[in-house]
Subunit: 219 residues, 2 copies
């Protein structure tokens, strides 16, 4: 067997085993999420994601400039008018007991992809209107698959949630399938969120941002 094929099979087995570990873990176990993220981050599929994201001007420019959110002062954002992105973001973070992540500067495209997706995750929650319940996370996972196209990680999370339902609580099948369809349908007409320099938009109206991204949130 060639070394390349051997590596491919090894990678597949590591991914399947990280997936299975995640199915067995309880929701919100960050250790297993991290191992799944590692196992699904082969350079080949990350490159597919990067090529796809860089195929529009906003994404292309982001990979040239690596815009980062930087320090976020939630208490200051919470003082902005209530219709702004900044207020909605601060409110979301405080209500959920979350703190903005501190991620080191990016030195290459792969690092920027990971850092940008991670540090803007809660901005995506706010802009899509999907909350942090398991249903909201599934909706957002489907939204990510549409926006990133070739991400093993986000699609694995959907498969994981469906398999957990199959094995442990089949009563939730309809809610989970609804959530997938909702996230997917919201994403289909939406413009790319990847690469937006959110720190320049804290004072903008959340509704205007959603309109400009063609995101129609049911109020």
């Amino acid at each position: 067997m060639s070394e390349l094929l051997d590596l491919k099979l090894q990678r597949e087995e590591v991914l399947l085993s990280a997936f299975l570990e995640m199915v067995r873990a309880s929701d919100g176990d960050f250790g297993v999420i991290d191992r799944l993220a590692q196992a699904s981050s082969d350079l080949e599929s990350l490159q597919l994601v990067i090529n796809f994201l860089a195929s529009n001007p906003q994404g292309k420019s982001a990979f040239e400039r690596y815009p980062r959110v930087g320090e976020v002062d939630l208490e200051r954002l919470a003082l902005l008018p209530t219709d702004t992105l900044g207020y909605a973001y601060a409110n979301h973070m405080i209500q959920n007991g979350l703190k903005p992540l501190k991620i080191k500067p990016s030195t290459n495209d792969y690092e920027f992809l990971g850092a940008h997706i991670t540090e803007t995750h809660d901005v995506w929650h706010v802009v899509t209107g999907f909350n942090t319940s398991i249903i909201g996370e599934i909706q957002l996972e489907a939204f990510y698959v549409s926006q990133l196209q070739f991400s093993r990680f986000w699609l694995a999370l959907i498969a994981k949630n469906l398999l957990k339902t199959v094995v442990y609580d089949i009563e939730h099948s309809t809610e989970y399938m609804d959530a997938i369809a909702e996230g997917w349908m919201l994403a289909k007409p939406a413009k790319p969120l990847f690469g937006i320099d959110w720190k320049t938009l804290w004072q903008s109206s959340l509704n205007d941002i959603r309109d400009s991204l063609n995101i129609k949130v049911q109020q």
Copy 2:
């Protein structure tokens, strides 16, 4: 550990292992499909499916009468007018090189559930307009989850197809997610197909049948 809990854990492990075997198998391997069907057919979840299906008059009556398709003469059905269900079914079977299954009579609700779903599977293909490609099967799997609600088997097939995409061909993620959403959206407004005595409808217009079931197929 109580015996009941022990059994539950055993069942979960058997289901996970049948699932993983199916992820590793090639599409259309009926041996592994059968093992997954067995592993996902615990009486508890089958009873949930039966209760749900019997909650409308058509399903209730089906569990009282166990209507079966019986012998099907494809060559005779193929002579019916081209707009009939019978013609469309015969055409579907012949084009795909399929033969109607012969399943023994049902003696209880669980057997009838399995036999009816199995022997009407290709009728569901025809009525929904979903073909037998992997995309068509995924569309139909999502349709089944909506129509049966608590079926571990059909939801496991969707999770399996998503995980195969994650591990082996991430390029297909969009097609597969589209297929899930399409099957789900077609099913949401549809009336129940379970329990219909299809052999009485061979001569009916396929379009009329779809209309009566509120199934809007894109031509």
